[in-house]
Symmetry: C2
Subunit: 121 residues, 2 copies
DNA sequence: ACGCTAAATTGCTATTTCGTCAAACGGTAG
DNA sequence: CTACCGTTTGACGAAATAGCAATTTAGCGT
């Protein structure tokens, strides 16, 4: 494990980073990105894969497009979307790892330690 | 550039990942994490650094606590918060890098190429 | 021109979430 | 105990957002 020293971010940068996280904070959008891991797909394909209505899928794809996370290619009647920013997968993987660690730690605490995490109310 | 192949995530995992991203999608919460980079701090210190009202800071800290991103230590009248999940900084750094790249690319396009990103309506 | 189809957009309702104020809680000191 | 202080919590109004239904836009074929 490296002890990277991370830089403080400016107020403006923070705002932009928050916005990017917000784009990734909706399950349907993550499902769409997940589906696009296999490669470019049309809206109808994505509709079928996600089981959501077309209007919803279109709207969320539009958001992802504006954010620069995906790119669009129009061909005839169809629009094909693909991943434009591959870092999203690394982000997801990193979060997954972090969640795994946390779960594992919580399990440890279940064996005899009652003092920490789940914030009792 | 490595061509990592990333795993597809389960429906449930996606939901959890989305929730984690949501926690990180608020500017004030990122400001709090940013302030905690220097180490453990009390609520009042964080109130002063962020310029937000105390009730607000407390509420957001509570969210970060529930999410396991920060940890709390109570001493006398005060509560001291610290980072519990260091991956948040790597996540932010990664997003920053990605945004930087995107901005650079957009600047390129300004010199003579009118076809791509900002989604004209 | 017309109809058919894929995608994008609009209007609406319901839910969520932020920020603020006010009150409650928990320690500490006089 | 009472008064005070730092923190947490509850309630309220305002703004944002997801989902659904209906409409519009745009390409293709007849």
């Amino acid at each position: 494990m490296s002890d990277h020293t991370h830089k403080h971010l400016s107020e403006d940068a923070l705002e932009l980073v928050a916005e990017r996280f917000k784009v990734l904070s909706e399950p349907l959008r993550l499902r769409l990105l997940n589906a696009l891991m296999d490669g470019e797909k049309s809206v109808s394909e994505l509709v079928e894969e996600t089981g959501s209505l077309q209007a919803n899928v279109s709207k969320h794809l539009g958001l992802l497009l504006d954010a620069g996370v995906v790119a669009r290619r129009k061909e005839g009647l169809r629009s094909y979307y693909r991943i434009a920013d591959k870092t999203v997968f690394e982000l997801c993987d990193m979060v997954c790892g972090s969640l795994h660690d946390r779960l594992a730690a919580d399990l440890e605490h279940l064996s005899g330690d009652r003092s920490s995490s789940p914030h009792r109310r």
